[in-house]
């Protein structure tokens, strides 16, 4: 019960952080109406990426602080199951942030609110983010300077997802049909599959003692 309360606090703080990123970018680019479509996708994905990094830093934090990681590893289950458990948890977490932040963002930039295509892009991108983020979170938690280690590991590997998500979002905001963005969706699906498989395979080498 206490753990859940903590998670809620973390969700809210990540939300506020992501919102702040949107606000800061608004000042940094002093966006006018005619430029919105050019910069808006970038702003949304910067906010979600940095918010995601902040969230991934917390995935194993509870276990680390209470030395419960060993306990988790003693569970008579395959290590891959632990990975998938953490993956589903952080996916839900980041998705919850995105579900709140995206409508706020769309309102703040006077963009159309109902965008089912954008929802699909967000889900695909967040699967990719969490597949890599959960793995690197387990790496970073066991290093010194772990808060800085995670973004250094995560961001370069996540580049393809960020590029594809920004491009696809720009096409959605421009009101283009599915066909135009299919290549970016394919890239995200490929990335998701590759990293879900690879991370499941190598996760056991990260957490073994």
């Amino acid at each position: 019960m206490l753990t859940e309360l903590r998670t809620k606090e973390v969700v809210i703080s990540v939300l506020v952080f992501a919102l702040l990123v949107v606000v800061i970018f608004n000042f940094a680019f002093s966006t006018r109406a005619d430029e919105t479509e050019l910069v808006a996708p970038g702003i949304l994905w910067t906010a979600l990426t940095f918010g995601g990094v902040l969230g991934f830093n917390r995935i194993f934090a509870v276990e680390k602080e209470n030395s419960r990681l060993e306990g988790l590893m003693l569970c008579p289950v395959d290590r891959a199951v632990v990975y998938w458990g953490k993956l589903v948890g952080s996916f839900t977490f980041i998705l919850a942030v995105a579900v709140v932040i995206t409508p706020v963002f769309l309102v703040l930039f006077n963009l159309p609110l109902f965008l089912p295509k954008l929802a699909l892009i967000i889900v695909l991108a967040i699967i990719g983010f969490t597949a890599v983020g959960t793995l690197f979170s387990a790496v970073a938690i066991n290093t010194r300077a772990r808060d800085i280690m995670l973004p250094i590991l995560f961001l370069p590997v996540a580049v393809p997802v960020i590029v594809a998500a920004v491009k696809a979002t720009a096409l959605v905001l421009a009101g283009r049909p599915w066909g135009d963005m299919s290549i970016w969706l394919q890239i995200m699906i490929a990335f998701d599959i590759i990293y879900l498989v690879v991370a499941t395979l190598v996760f056991e080498f990260v957490v073994e003692e």
Partner: protein, 235 residues
Amino acid sequence: MKSRHILRDNILFGLGFALMIAALYMVFVYVPTEKETGIVQRIFYFHVPVAWVCFLAFFITFIFSILYLWKRATKWDAIAHASAEVGIIFATLVLITGPIWAKPVWGIWWTWDARLTTSLVLWLIYVAYLLVRSFATEPERGARFGAVVGIVGFIDVPVVFLTVNLWRTQHPTTMIFEGGLATPMLMTLLVCIIAFTVLYVLLTVQSANLKSMETEIKRLKSAQAEQEDIDLWRT
């Protein structure tokens, strides 16, 4: 065993030295100056081999990372680590020689083109590789984490390239493969590629040996300290 190592290293060194001299001669004396872009085009004979070595080095890191996770022999990890270090140096050289060429030819230092962006992302991934190793709490853990980053990072390379290629591209590509290169130029390029590959092998072997020795010394030191503890306890 040891003398065979020294012999091998000497042969590698001699071969590398001779090839480097030959490469320098060919680049600066033998090969004719390219018509359109002028003298600056000669940097191409360094840029391409260095880029090739950089990808080779990271591929070797990838292979030996898998081997290490599988077999757990320290020597595989030493090779993976050494190769990544040498790869980072070559990746840095790629990122330096590229803009030197681009400024006079394209008129700009940098553009977010597929190859340039991929090289930069690659550089960042392997800097993270070295950082995660040095920030790990124990060397054995660092080796495992490094291996994981070495695998995950290398798989990312084609994905990054594909993505950024769709995004925008400007880099000259077809020159080499469509036979657009005159024979002396191709010859020079080949000699340079071989020379730099030998240099890479030499550096990686040396660095990997050094790392193995370091591990051995650490092991001996801790064994000795343990022995002294026991002796102290006995007296």
